[in-house]
Point group: C2
């Protein structure tokens, strides 16, 4: 069912330090920061030849990554995202097998403008897992 | 400096449950389990079109992932691995910039038979980061 690894998301306390690490120390190509206000994050895309790393900085106290950074003040891997062809078919298969979809279970429009769902870490090897329809 | 994302490593309490999740629920292609005794792990490769996920189960109490699983009993993302052309040049550049290389700083032969180093999570966005020479 799952296809490509679309991205690995790494929460960082500031994009400036994240870009210093990934663009500077590790010498990867980084995009300009983009605000995705409706998702409560500012994001930089680290472009690797086969996938991307997304560095996420929270916007505001209600950002979905604010609590994660309270527990992990230097940052950390927040989630992985796999591509699927049909998000509704994927969701229905997963639910039928007892996996928990976060929120109300309906796909939302994600940071890339495409439908996404998030799956409960406890059902997926302790890993917050996003599926994105491509 | 860094090239492709070689793999994302996910520690799991048992490969059986990891394969049930990735091969079963998520429908990805999984390899047969392989013991990598010198690294204290059994591993299953989840083959995605653009990269791979490595599911790691500890072998023995001294396994490098045993402590991680004590803190994260359902599993979790353990590290990410990026490819580099020259591991010595990469290490020397990173050390010159103040980044910490784990262990004695000398590349070891990793689970794929290639030279690897591990970098301190606190210097890399809270993420245990492996570099592999390809």
């Amino acid at each position: 069912m799952i296809g490509r690894l679309n991205h690995v998301a790494i929460a960082v306390p500031s994009l400036e330090s994240g870009v210093a690490t990934y663009g500077g120390t590790l010498g990867a190509k980084c995009s300009e920061p983009q605000e995705v206000t409706e998702h409560g994050v500012k994001v930089v895309f680290v472009e690797l030849p086969n996938t991307k790393i997304e560095l996420l900085e929270p916007i505001g106290e209600n950002s979905p990554i604010a609590k994660f950074l309270e527990k992990n003040p230097v940052g950390g891997i927040h989630h992985v995202c796999y591509e699927v062809d049909d998000i509704i078919a994927a969701r229905d298969k997963l639910k039928a097998e007892g996996a928990r979809v976060l929120g109300d279970g309906e796909p939302k429009i994600g940071a890339h403008g495409k439908p996404v769902i998030f799956l409960h870490p406890k059902d997926f090897c302790g890993t917050l897992t996003e599926l994105e329809q491509v």
